[in-house]
């Protein structure tokens, strides 16, 4: 039923209504008409019967059945209907339409309906099909009392054809009219349905378009109040949906932008503890899987603590804050918040840098006090010894004073270096305070100050620098950088080795390198050696007399001059030693 089109359905219902509306009255009319016609015919038959009876009574008495029969035939011939006289037993004794010889062969008529009726009531009628005449007839019968047929029955049979003709004519007309009305209503309903269907079709199209996301689709129909109301509703709805969608999309985009812009990694867990969504920052944290979505936190981070925290929050805890180290270097502060209808939001805040800085600060304080205390202790010890007058006069006193001076110098060095470092850190050198400087000259003057140490360890310097390498720098700082690096290299080199100095000119800058063949620096120390007072091997370096600030000063000086400093140990294609690189900008054309 559902598959039938609206138009067909409308048409069908029209027809059914019509059929019911037309057929019921038509049937009633037909019935009434038929009854009336029949009653009329019946009344007519009685009149004819009375007339024949009167004729029979007026005619001279019959002496034989033949005479009666002949009379019947004569009268029947003139009146054009059948006249039958039935004796009291039911035997036919005269009949206008049956030959004389055949009368005795006729059935006994006592059982006929009109005969029974006539005997009972005096007269009766009946309509039935006569087998004898092979047509429908109306029979009317009444009791007669003739000498020849005492207490017999006179019957007339009038053909019903006229009645039937009239009825069938009526039926023909009726069906014709009905058919015409059918055609007309069909046409009317067809057009009506079509007119009704057009706005519906338009509404459907618009609604489909809206459903598919085309909110510009509007219905423009004018077909009655109901439809215009409907179309107005749909148009309004489309507008509102569009507004809402725009608002939601806007909000979503804002949210996404916020999420993507966050440095913190964010992930959303569903009820089952699987990751539903993440932002960009999280994918940098997660390294185990190419895509986090659909995995469990354990698979992504391979960290039992994170998984435990997630499980806790998913199983009911409202929120949770936890410090988690993914590896030895990175530490995250993980915040977990439960979403009311299951699931959780997990935010990863990288605090490794904070922790690192905190450690650097702590180490710095510990180291600086240690570095200052060591010479101070010996100064104090020797000075206290010298307080003893007996000892003061001995010949050892001079060497004691020397040691005190040496340690005081060391302290002065440290304090000077610290001041220098602070100065370097405090202000960022502006580019216009840098001047083109010949780096080779700077290196040479740095090398001169280191000459005694070089001679002592018998270390050879391989100078691969060109005569003139012009960089943008501050002369004193550059000399300091070279001196400190050279100093370091000499300290960590074994005797009778060489130190190579080279420079690579790049597009915008020059990279200098100092390569030694010393012990090298373990990988995990390499990141920290530029920190103040950081020492790879605490026992050995202090004995060598450095302040522990050389590389820190180098880094700050390089930064101040707009450059960078880094280390590679062991150098490429080497098994030992290390190479320190630093870069400086080339002077711009106008400056040179």
């Amino acid at each position: 039923m559902k598959s039938i089109r609206f138009r067909t359905r409308l048409l069908l219902s029209f027809w059914i209504v019509l059929l019911v509306a037309l057929c019921l009255p038509a049937y009633y009319i037909h019935q009434t008409l038929e009854n009336e016609i029949l009653n009329e015919a019946r009344a007519d038959a009685y009149i004819q019967l009375d007339f024949v009876h009167w004729l029979l009574k007026e005619s001279p008495p019959f002496h034989s059945n033949q005479a009666l029969d002949q009379w019947c035939k004569n009268v029947g011939y003139h009146l054009k209907y059948r006249i039958t006289v039935i004796a009291s037993g039911g035997r036919v004794i005269a009949d206008s339409d049956v030959k004389n010889q055949k009368i005795p062969l006729l059935d006994n008529h006592a059982g006929r309906k009109e005969v029974i009726g006539a005997r009972k009531l005096g007269h009766a009628s009946s309509i039935r099909y006569s087998i004898t005449l092979k047509r429908k007839l109306i029979y009317a019968a009444k009791n007669i009392n003739l000498p020849i047929a005492p207490s017999g029955v006179l019957r007339v049979a009038i053909p019903l054809s006229t009645v039937e003709t009239r009825l069938s004519a009526f039926a023909h007309k009726f069906w014709g009219v009905l058919f015409l009305i059918f055609i007309i209503t069909m046409l009317i309903s067809f057009f009506l349905a079509k007119r009704l269907e057009a706005p519906i079709r338009k509404t459907i199209q618009a609604a489909t378009a809206i459903g598919e996301g085309n909110y510009e689709a509007h219905i423009d129909i004018d077909a009655g109040t109901e439809f215009s109301q409907l179309s107005m509703c749909i148009n309004d709805m489309a507008d509102k949906i569009q507004q809402n969608i725009e608002m939601i999309t806007g909000q979503k985009q804002e949210l996404e932008a916020v999420l993507e812009g966050m440095a913190e990694g964010v992930m959303l867990l569903d009820k089952n503890g699987k990751i539903k969504a993440t932002n960009q920052a999280l994918t940098w944290i997660a390294k185990c899987v190419p895509s986090c979505i659909g995995h469990r936190p354990m698979e992504v981070f391979l960290n039992p603590e994170i998984q435990d925290a997630c499980n806790k929050v998913l199983s009911g805890q409202e929120h949770l804050k936890q410090k988690v180290s993914i590896n030895s270097e990175t530490v995250y502060e993980v915040n977990l918040v439960r979403i009311p209808d299951g699931g959780a939001v997990v935010v990863f805040h990288d605090i490794s840098e904070l922790i690192r800085l905190e450690k650097v600060r702590q180490d710095f304080i510990a180291n600086v006090s240690h570095e200052l205390r060591t010479p101070l202790t010996s100064i104090k010890g020797y000075a206290e010894t010298l307080l003893d007058e007996k000892f003061r006069s001995s010949d050892k006193a001079a060497s004691f004073v020397n040691t005190i001076v040496k340690n005081a110098d060391q302290m002065t060095n440290i304090v000077n270096d610290l001041l220098e470092l602070t100065k370097l850190q405090q202000k960022q050198q502006k580019p216009d305070q840098l001047f083109p400087v010949n780096a080779t000259t700077c290196f040479n003057s740095a090398m001169e100050t280191c000459m005694p140490m070089l001679k002592e360890k018998n270390i050879r310097i391989v100078n691969q620098l060109n005569d003139s390498i012009i960089v943008n720098a501050e002369e004193n700082s550059l000399i300091q950088v070279f001196r400190n690096l050279l100093d370091n290299a000499i300290q960590h080199s074994l005797p009778e080795t060489k130190i190579t100095v080279f420079a690579q000119t790049k597009k915008d800058d020059v990279v200098f390198g100092l390569q030694d063949e010393g012990t090298g620096i373990p990988l995990h120390h390499q990141k920290r050696i530029f920190e103040r007072f950081y020492r790879v091997d605490k026992e050995r370096s202090r004995a060598s007399g450095g302040t522990g600030l050389g590389l820190a000063i180098c880094r700050n000086a390089a930064r101040k001059m707009g450059g960078k400093i880094w280390v590679k140990s062991p150098p490429d294609n080497q098994s030992k030693g290390s190479v320190f690189y630093f870069s400086l900008n080339k002077p711009t054309d106008s400056a040179s």
């Binding site: 995995h295 391979l302 090298g520 373990p522």
Partner: protein
């Protein structure tokens, strides 16, 4: 019934991953303890081994139960068998990490040897191999599983380098008898550490092979197959 089975399989995977995470951390801590001469950290590795052993038992229990009660087929069967095997390898890796930590504990109590770059490289490669093996298990990545085996050659090379460096050092070592003993002792302990790392590389390779078995149902053990 089916849902229950999937849940149990998931629990098995999570237990194994837990074990993998702890093993990875143990190795990282052990190497860190060696490099930074951190006795405390070395001790945590030794103490943490029990938890990994317990997890291995747990993996065994779950897989045995699954095998007995569910009659798993095809991939599920391979997954269960593979997981049991991987847990065994992980447990051995953790044992090697404990070994490294114990050697480091000894080394921490004595003056440091000179810096050996090959050792650092060996540590990095052993770490990377274990990472790659675990990652291939998580992602069910056949190619990555195979790659672990290719990294093993590098691990062997660096182990040999460490050995050569230290043998050389021992030979050239000072003639003073007392110091020579100390030098030899420290060198041998360091060689053992390199040996442990090399073993870890081998075990990670095995994990890769088990993953290949789970994913593609082929046994690549003891065979030279070129899949590239």
């Amino acid at each position: 019934m089916e849902r229950h089975f999937i849940k149990e399989l998931d629990a098995l995977k999570m237990t194994l991953l837990n074990m993998a995470a702890l093993t990875r951390r143990a190795l990282e801590k052990a190497t860190h303890a060696y490099l930074n001469r951190d006795e405390k950290e070395a001790q945590t590795v030794i103490d943490g081994d029990k938890e990994i052993n317990d997890l291995e038992l747990q993996v065994d229990n779950i897989s045995l139960k699954l095998l007995a009660l569910e009659q798993p087929m095809a991939r599920d069967l391979r997954f269960i068998i593979g997981t049991t095997k991987i847990s065994k390898e992980l447990e051995r890796i953790a044992d090697q990490a404990v070994n490294i930590a114990q050697r480091s504990l000894f080394l921490c109590q004595h003056p440091p040897l000179h810096h050996i770059p090959s050792m650092e490289r060996l540590m990095t490669i052993a770490d990377n191999m274990l990472d790659a093996a675990i990652s291939s298990f998580i992602n069910e990545d056949f190619q990555q599983a195979i790659k672990v085996r290719q990294m093993d050659d590098m691990a062997d090379k660096y182990t040999l380098e460490v050995l050569q460096t230290l043998v050389e050092y021992m030979v050239k070592s000072t003639p003073v008898a007392e110091k020579r003993l100390l030098n030899t002792n420290r060198s041998i302990q360091t060689i053992i550490i390199s040996r442990c790392l090399e073993r870890i590389g081998d075990l990670a390779t095995n994990i890769g092979e088990h993953v290949a078995f789970i994913v593609k149902a082929i046994n690549i053990k003891h065979q030279k197959i070129d899949f590239e």
